[in-house]
Amino acid sequence: MNMLLRKLGMLSVLFAMSATSMGCGITEVVLVVAGDNTVQMTAQNLQIQVLDTNGVIAYDETLPVSEFAFPATLSITPSGSESAAFRVHVRATFPAMMMGGDELRSTRGTSFVEGESVRLDIPLFSRCRGVTCGIEQYCAANAQCESDAVDPSTLPSWTGSP
């Protein structure tokens, strides 16, 4: 009987190891859009767009900030290739004349990581008001423009809460 139980135990361990190594988890990128205090206090609306590799908008939604609590979170999953690339555009709008500009924009371009649930952070900084960056760039915490390309291998695992 002991031998049988040992064999069953070993089989369970092997099964668990193979399941883990096969990456049978869900493939998703959880987008987390945060804002500094000024952004959180004054933003009126938040727009999130997700574009596929052809630049075609696959998702586009604008919501008043009263309908969610910062940070905004959105799960993005692939309907085709599990390593597909995509780009996220985020735009927060403000009442006219507040913050010296009507909106703040940020973008990131990355890919899914097959079988993994990872987190993509897009923080919005009020000091970026009035800063206009080039295509595929975003305004970073130091108000300087940086490339918006994010190596998917650097994306942290999604732990289940922002």
Partner: protein
């Protein structure tokens, strides 16, 4: 919406002559044929060219349904991706928005985009308009019992299908609760372009005479059955929780909380 459709039709017609020229060239070369398909014969190319010309004429007359069928036939024959440009336009004008989107996506993936910059740009604009126009519906099923399933427009949905909004064409739709292969509850509804809605459907209670009414003769047997069922439920619930935790995408707090990228 109407203005957009008219504009689209106008653009489509404007491009048709140019495309006709392109297609004449493309149909003569294997390079214009989808890589995933067999190379059509010379006869098929000739026939495809004639059918495409007929489709173009029908499009010029705004007979979109006839044009759509002819463009589809031409594509079946010649397999030239550029035909999808016109097929998608005709599908869009006949309310087949999802099929139009698919035609445009296939076009972008199969055509040499540098050879057709104007068409590619126009298609990208059209695709973005289509994505905004395509209605989305979320099915909310209530009071479902074990073994019940949801059927939408004749297609059985999985639990995953129910978690997110579904893209559907404008028009009439039907959703049913299926129990033992019988549609026991049905809701019909109509969607227009840009609609975003949730349809609730409630599974009916099973009839009383369908419930087991025989008393268990032995209290010991009842105990064992109870223990067995209880154990099975506990194991089932544990497995379900593990599977759901591992396989369900996170539900965010922005809008529906989830989206997909093609």
């Amino acid at each position: 919406m109407i203005g957009s459709a008219v504009e689209e039709a106008s653009l489509l017609l404007r491009h048709t002559i140019g495309v006709m020229t392109c297609i004449s060239l493309l149909l003569l070369t294997a390079g214009g044929v989808s890589a995933q398909q067999e190379v059509p014969t010379e006869e098929q190319i000739q026939e495809g060219r004639q059918v495409f010309a007929q489709g173009t004429e029908q499009a010029r007359l705004a007979n979109w349904q006839e044009a759509r069928d002819l463009f589809a036939q031409a594509y079946e024959l010649a397999r030239a991706p550029i035909i999808l440009y016109n097929l998608g336009g005709a599908q869009r004008n006949t309310g087949m928005l999802i099929e139009a989107l698919e035609s445009f996506r296939t076009f972008l993936s199969e055509v040499d985009q540098e050879r057709f910059p104007e068409e590619v740009e126009q298609i990208r604009i059209s695709m973005n308009e289509l994505l905004a126009d395509i209605p989305r519906v979320t099915i909310s099923a209530i009071n479902m019992r074990e073994g019940d399933s949801i059927r939408f427009d004749g297609q059985d949905l999985t639990a995953d299908d129910l978690r997110s909004a579904r893209q559907v064409n404008p028009g009439e739709h039907r959703v049913s609760v299926v129990r033992e292969e019988i549609e026991v509850e049905t809701e019909r509804f109509t969607l227009s372009a840009t609609d975003r809605t949730t349809i609730e459907i409630e599974a009916p209670e099973p009839p009383r005479d369908a419930l087991p009414n025989q008393e268990v003769e032995s209290s010991r047997a009842g105990l064992w059955i109870g223990l067995g069922v209880g154990g099975a439920v506990a194991i089932g619930a544990t497995v379900a929780i593990i599977l759901l935790t591992a396989a369900s995408p996170y539900e965010g707090n922005f809008g529906n909380g989830q989206t997909e990228v093609p």
